[in-house]
Amino acid sequence: MSLGTGIRLADLIAAICFVLALRGLTGPKTARYGNLLGAGGMTLAIAITFATNGLTHFLLIVGAMAIGTVIAVPAARLVKMTAMPQMVAAFNGVGGGAAALIALATFLRAPAGSLAVYEVVEVLLGVVIGCVSFSGSCIAFAKLQEIMTGRPVTYPGQQVWNGIVGVAILGLGVTVCVSSFNWLVAIVLVLALAFGVAFVLPVGGADVPVLISLLNSFTGLAVAASGFVLHSVVLVVAGTLVGASGTLLTQMMSRAMGRSLPNILFSAFGSVITATGGAEGDTTRSVRSASAEDVAILLAYANKVIVVPGYGLAVAQAQHTIRELADLLESRGVQVIYAIHPVAGRMPGHMNVLLAEANVPYEQLKEMDEANPEFQSADVALVVGANDVVNPAAKNNPDSPIYGMPILAVDEARNIVFMKRSMRPGFAGIDNELLFDPKTTLLFGDAKDSLTKVVAAIKAL
């Protein structure tokens, strides 16, 4: 068996590992195994690459890999669970950047005019998609990390400008293919970076995770394109797998939010808010705020309490405190369940991860469809740091930007307790009518402090 055959066989095994890894990741029992299998396939593919004929600069390669590893491992290990989404965005962006660099380097290496048209097309696809993914991911990261505003950024004629940039990229690309003006590739690269920024700017708030998923599938396609450039089967297979499954996953995610993908990308979510909510909301209407002792009494003498955890809970690192509260209530004979909205936290499934970290029993976690019928019989709905996912505007107000999003039927509970830091609107930036409802009680403050106080108050009863 020649070396070349060995490498191709190893690539085949790696490709099989990737397919099985994806399948494993679709089930809770097999997910971990799937991820390990993917890592195994990856290790094989990388290791065998060292055996490639004519490969030199081993020291540089190993050095660069060491640098990457030294940065990536602590970053991925130490990041708080709440910051996972932007971490995924960052790792996705650098992947897109690498794909673009590969295509670019290959293009610069070839003597001018020596590439066939289809080869130039491959290079351009790699550069353009890779750059869009890179700069788009950077903006998504900045939004989630709150380096820049999480709200949609809009300006007049936005879609028109994006269209013009898109057409310019296309036009220049065609010119590069049919002429020998290779320097035009530099302009294409810059325009693609600009397009990635412009593409992500108008997407805001709760939609960013869906966008990250879309950028993830872009990177997959960019990797596939660089696979074409380098004639590497394993790159084409893995890149395409991610491109295809990522697209499907993006659709699933937007469906979980009750919105279509084009709606998320182009509606500049939130631009209507000032028109509908701003006028009333504010300080003009009164809300009922209470002390931790009031809330403690309400909870301790209830029969059934439904906890609705949101991002505020995660930010305050209050998972363990909420569990303590739940245990305390249960020891008093109160039934406690958790109602988990599909996009509670910042991404689908994010909240389950956070609560599992605090050892909240699996059986107490109810998904939305399971939880909603429970609210009618609940004495108290305890909303901790969530807002948009319980906003009845999604059901009642067709003008609201979140209209149509499935929500938790918190308004059906006999009492509602909101733990909030302030009257500030939630992630999507929309006022919540429920806060002004007569059966609503507000407990202001950091979620963890508030919960700790309530726990102490219940113990003192």
């Binding site: 490969l55 992947g95 690498a98 295809a244 303590e324 689908p348």
Partner: protein
């Protein structure tokens, strides 16, 4: 490269696209985030390409491009798998079916309002 090469690559591309669509047809929403993170790690295979570019580079600009590409791709692949594994570790805790000492202690409080 000859036309046969590009055609076989296109064949691989089309078939892989179908597999990609089919293989994740049904995913519970709980697993959306880990799945996204997992696919994110898998496109880290771009490291293989980056290694090839750096390993065959000649001249400073090629070396720099290749070097940066390898660093970025390594970030993608290593970070991607580690983050995914961390997410899934949490899932392991919350799956109670296996009766081990650890899972019993995790389940116990749900049956009776555990000792505080």
């Amino acid at each position: 490269m000859n036309g046969g090469d590009i055609l076989s690559l296109i064949t691989v591309f089309v078939l892989a696209a179908f597999v990609g669509f089919e293989v994740i047809a049904k995913v519970p929403s709980t697993l959306h985030t880990p799945l996204m993170s997992g696919t994110n790690a898998i496109h880290g295979v771009v490291l293989v390409g980056a290694m090839l570019v750096l390993g065959t580079a000649s001249g400073t600009s090629q070396m720099v491009l290749g070097f940066v590409a390898v660093v970025l791709a390594t970030l993608n692949v290593v970070g991607g798998f580690v983050v995914t594994d961390r997410m899934l570790e949490m899932f392991k805790v919350r799956k109670p079916p296996k009766v081990s000492a650890e899972s019993v202690s995790a389940v116990a409080p749900s049956t009776e309002g555990g000792p505080k």
